[in-house]
Each structure stands twice: as C-alpha cells, then as structure tokens.
C-alpha cells in the first residue's frame, strides 16, 4: 500500500466530514502547478503552538525542483519546505527511485487562506505499446492529493504514536513525539474517491510502434547528412598552386 493511502487509512476517523480544501492540477503539458485551494476559513485548535502543513506524496513520474522551490520560498511565494528522497532533475522514470519523493510544505493561513501552488514537473513516462495509449496518445497515472493538517506541539509529553511513524522511506517523520495532528480533508477534482483523493494525470507517452521507423530514419538521415557534407568537402577543388606571397614560418 502506498504511503498516501496508508496515512489516510490511519487518520480516517479524525477527518471531519466537510472537505476543507480542493486539490487540482490544471493545465496540460509537462510543467504544471498543484493547487491547494481552501474551501472555508481555517481555525486551528490552538493557534500558538500549531503550524499548518501539507504533505505531498509524489510518484516517480512527477517531481518538484528543489532549486525552483527555494527560489520561490526566497521570493515569499511559497512557504518553507522539505523534500524527502533524492530528486533527479533529468532522469527518465525508469532511472529514478520507484518510491518517488515527498514534499512537506508549510502553509500560511493568513495568506490566501492557507492555500498554495506547488510547481511540479512530469518526467517522460515509459514508452508503451501502441494499444496501451489512450486516444490522445497519453498514459495516465495517479497523483495523490496532498494531506493537510495542523501539527501542534503538545504541552504534556505523552508518548502518543503519530500516524506518520510507520510510513516507509523516503519519508521519515520529522515530528517530535507528543506532537498532535488535526487533519483537514482534501477533495479531489469532481469529488472522486472521497476516502482516497487522487488526481488522474495524463501525459503523452512514446509509442513503441514508432521505434522501427525512428531507428531506421535516424541512422539513415545521419549517414546521409554525413555523406552529403563529406561529398561537398571532397568536391572542393584543391588549392591553386601556391603563390610567392605564401608566408614562410
């Protein structure tokens, strides 16, 4: 069971019925932002010792650029954040950790009502056989909606277990023991799967049925280009007989 589902199964009984947030990934293409929009005003249980946070479980097909996030945090367009797992900015899906990465983000209830916009980038998905592509030439994967909660320092140091404790790496719970959590439900687009809100993401994928043509075409065109330029160079007549103005070394 993936981490997001596992976490949600722990906290199911804590969640109030009304969704507090919408999550969405509008747009097309390989560079999109995950929007977390609050649906109502958020009142924390006890303001002073609580921070509002969101946890994003990113599958390997999506990643956040830590340098981009840092830039945005410096510009005050994003809260403080932590990324768990190794982010490879360049590799394809097949070359990265299949457990994906996790982003922990501080939200500011006084700004945009505690919403946020997390810039994300899609990797090229694994190329597939032609019949596995949808009619737009795309493949789909599930991006779990972020899990949003107030993390509050407890006055009394009771050894409560936190729902984050038995999640698997790369996420490692950064919370001190005794921290209590108040989860706010997040709603997926079109309110699908209320118990396990996910966004269905579609990205264009390479079509393996193209491979023979691409292999043939690339090798032949490169050879053709080579031959033509080589021929052009060969066809240039040799230099005329050297003149007396030739410089002597």
């Amino acid at each position: 069971m993936d981490s997001a589902t596992l976490l949600l199964s722990h906290i199911a009984r804590d969640i109030h019925q009304e969704p507090a947030y919408n999550c969405s990934l509008p747009g097309q293409g390989f560079h999109r932002s995950l929007f977390l929009t609050p649906l109502s005003a958020l009142l924390p249980p006890e303001t002073e010792r609580c921070i509002l946070q969101a946890l994003f479980f990113l599958p390997p097909s999506v990643f956040a650029d830590p340098y981009e996030l840092k830039q945005q945090a410096d510009d005050h367009r994003l809260g403080k954040f932590m990324i768990f797992g190794v982010t490879d900015l360049e590799g394809p899906v097949s070359a990265v950790d299949p457990r994906g990465t996790v982003v922990l983000l501080n939200l500011d209830p006084s700004k945009e009502g505690g919403g946020s916009e997390l810039p994300l980038h899609m990797r090229y998905p694994e190329p597939v056989e032609h019949n596995l592509l949808d009619m737009y030439g795309q493949v789909g994967f599930e991006l779990p909606c972020p899990i949003v909660y107030w993390a509050c320092e407890s006055v009394d140091n009771n050894e409560e277990t936190s729902p984050f404790d038995d999640l698997t790496p790369p996420f490692v719970s950064p919370y001190k023991s005794g921290t209590s959590f108040y989860f706010l439900p997040v709603q997926a687009p079109e309110g699908k799967q209320p118990g396990n809100p996910v966004i269905e993401v579609h990205v264009p994928a390479g079509d393996l049925s193209h491979l023979p043509a691409v292999e043939w075409g690339t090798t032949h065109v490169i050879l053709l280009a080579f031959l033509y330029v080589a021929y052009s160079a060969w066809s240039v007549p040799p230099r005329p007989h050297s003149t007396a103005r030739e410089k002597v070394e």
Binding site: G29, D88, L89, Y124, P127, D207, A225, S232, A233
Partner: protein, 411 residues
C-alpha cells in the same frame, strides 16, 4: 552589403556594446526581482551555487582529491550542486559571485564578448569592413542576450578566438595554451588542433605534421589540457572526471532537443539497443569533423574551424540552441568569404531559421500543451538535420578557401 554601412569608429561600437551589456545585466536583475519568469538563465544559478559550495566546504563536503586531502585544503565540492557538469575552474572563476556581487559572472561573460569583438576585428582580412564584426557579433542580440543572461559560452569563445588570434609565429605557444584551455572547458575544441596542424604543415607534405612548429603546438596544447586536468583531479578527484568529461561522452538525452536521437534514446532507454546508436553517430561525426580539419585547415583556418564546428553540432546526439554560439563567433571572419548570391544567402538563412521555427512550434505543443506529438517532433528534427546538412554543404562549396590575401593582424 555590409560594406555600405556608415563608418562609425570601432571604439564607439565597442562602447555601445559595453553599455548594452551593462544595461541588460542591470535590467536582468530588476526583471528577476519583479517577475516570476526569470531573465537569468537557470545555468547561471547552477554555476553560482557550485561556486558558493567551493567557498563553503562545510555545506558541500570537502574536495576529495588526494592533494586536497594531503594539505587539508579548505575547498568545497562544486558537484554537490546537481546538474553542475563543468570544470571546477568555472566555479572558481565565479567565486566573486558570492564574495562580491552576484552579477560578477555576467560581467565576466560580457567582458569576454567585448574581447572577442576586439580580436575578431584584428583577425578580419585586410580591406574587410569591420561592420561584419559589428553586426554579427558586437551588436548582435544573440550573444548579447546569452552572456547577460549568465550563460558561460562566451568564455569558450574567448579561449577559441584567442587561440586563433595568437596563431602567428612568435606567439604559437599562447595559441596552443588557449586551445588547451578551451578543450579543458568543453572537450570539442580539440578538433581544431587537427586543423591547426594541417595549417602548420601546409606545403610540406606529411613531414610538416611532425615539423617543430607542429610538434610544439601539439605538445603544448595537449600538455595544457592534461596539466589543467591533473590539477583539477588532484584537488577534486574522480567526480571532476566524471562530471566534466565522462558524463558528456556517455550522456543519453531522452528529452526533446534538435537532434533526432532524442526519440531513439527515449524509446530505447535502458535497453541494449542504445549501444549501437552510440557507434552510428560517433564515428561519422568524428571522421567528418577531423576530415574537414585536415582538408581545409591548410587553406583557411577560420573557415575550417567554422565548418568543423557546424559538422560536429549537426551530427551530435544532442543539440540545443546554445550550441549555435559555437560557430557564431566565426561568422564575422567567414561571411566575407562566402561567394553566394544574396538570394541564395537569404534562402539558406530562411531555411536555417525555418527548420528551427517548425521544431519550436511542435516542441511547444508537446511540452506546454501536452499533445502527443513525439513523432512529428522527431520529423522536425529530421528536417533540421537535412536542412543544416544542405546549408553546410552549400557553404563549404561556395566558400572562398584560397583568397590570396593572407590573414594579418591590423594595428
């Protein structure tokens, strides 16, 4: 056509160029502070971060080479910055970004542009209008933009053009050193060495290739390259070799770029097919690039180097618009010798621009609109290769390789 433009003193042109560079650097800083879409190139942040890591080993880990460890050098690891795949020399040059001002690097690259302008003007054949330098380099928006955005290509340009500038009896050693530095920075300039040896051997047959000037040049440039490499290796160890050289020699770019290889790599990533394609492109690329150097180096060096660069970029497994800079700095020396009609010249230029425009339109559809256009984009790459091969072939055939006036330094 460029002969007929107003005769403005070159010093004024240089001043204008310098002012434009400074203005754009200042504008870039203002723009970045006020807009989510940045003027500064991402690579500039990569270099700057790497430079900061060198100065702060407590953040990045200490340099791991044997010399650094033996003497406890307080130098950090630039490769802590992911995607920094360059020599530590670049990070060292940019350390004032942290110590003085973040725009230092852009100033260095801009200064390189200006110095290239000066050297190009010196290298122009006698009687050639300096407007070629003005239009094609000093006031050309492309290098102006590239350097003020913080891309480091101008440094390679400075090393390469300096090598050409010093290629005179008496300063041959400096020419060789600059070529060694250029190769240390980017690997590919080593192909120019073959053209230089051909030039030094002209009229002397095969013996010319082992004559004293040729040996001096070969040994000095190779020596410079290996000496720089040895120093970097002794301080930074294996990561230096891996990131600066091995990565570039074995890189497999599966994401879209101008080369048709992108789709082949994407579709075969991780399978053994990839090995075959390595050989298919590498051998013709090297053979053509070196062959052009041997045949044309003895006749006209700027033309030979430009042709070599264009051939190299044409057949490379990855190609981005940054690579065009690599032959842009030769244009002021090469364009005056092209014997094409204005119509054909315009046609070739339109083809060069058009093949990129088609590619860009389709790439936009893929990257930002999420349309499944991989195959169409691959076709645009094929079109790009065919267009550029046709253009290069045509230019080689119509270039005046033997203009009688030898290249001399003016003033």
């Amino acid at each position: 056509m460029l002969h007929h433009l107003i005769k403005v003193p070159f010093a004024l042109i240089l001043l204008l160029s310098a002012l434009l560079h400074v203005g754009l650097i200042i504008y870039g800083d203002w723009h970045d502070a006020h807009s989510p879409l940045k003027y500064t190139d991402i690579d500039y942040h990569v270099f700057s971060d790497a430079a900061r890591f060198v100065l702060h080993p407590e953040k990045s880990g200490f340099a791991g080479g044997w010399l650094a460890e033996r003497f406890g050098l307080q130098l950090g690891d630039p490769y802590c910055r992911s995607t920094y795949r360059y020599t530590p020399l670049l990070a060292l040059i940019l350390t004032p970004n942290t110590l003085m001002h973040p725009a230092w690097g852009k100033a260095v690259f801009s200064l390189s542009n200006i110095m290239i302008s000066l050297q190009l003007r010196s290298l122009l054949p006698l009687g050639t209008s300096m407007n070629f330098v003005t239009i094609l380099w000093a006031l050309n928006p492309f290098p102006l933009n590239i350097s003020t955005r913080g891309s480091s290509e101008a440094l390679i340009g400075l090393a390469v053009i300096s090598s050409l500038y010093f290629l005179q009896p008496g300063t041959l050693v400096f020419s060789a050193i600059m070529l060694g530095i250029a190769t240390h920075l980017k690997i590919y300039p080593f192909v120019y060495g073959v053209a230089v040896l051909s030039w030094l051997a002209r009229g002397k047959g095969w013996r010319g290739w082992i004559s004293p000037p040729a040996l001096l040049f070969a040994l000095t440039s190779a020596g410079t390259f290996f000496a720089l490499g040895a120093v970097m290796y002794s301080i930074w160890g294996y990561p230096f070799l891996e990131q600066t050289y091995l990565y570039h020699l074995t890189r497999k770019d599966h994401r879209h770029n101008f080369s048709p290889f992108f789709y082949l790599v994407y579709l075969t990533h991780g399978s053994s097919n990839s090995r075959i394609s390595s050989l298919v492109s590498f051998v013709p690329q090297l053979a053509l690039t070196l062959g052009l150097g041997v045949k044309f180096g003895q006749r006209n060096l700027p033309g030979a180097w430009a042709a070599q660069t264009a051939a190299f970029v044409l057949l490379n497994k990855v190609c981005t618009s940054q690579y065009f800079m690599w032959y842009l700095w030769f244009l002021p020396l090469v364009i005056p010798r092209l014997r094409v009609s204005r119509l054909e010249g315009m046609g070739l230029l339109a083809l060069w621009i058009g093949s990129q425009a088609v590619w860009l339109a389709i790439a936009f559809q893929l990257e930002f609109q999420g349309q499944s256009v991989y195959f169409s984009l691959w076709m645009a790459c094929i079109g790009f290769v065919i267009s550029n091969a046709a253009i290069l072939g045509r230019l080689i055939m119509t270039y005046d390789w033997d203009e009688a006036v030898p290249v001399v330094k003016t003033e």
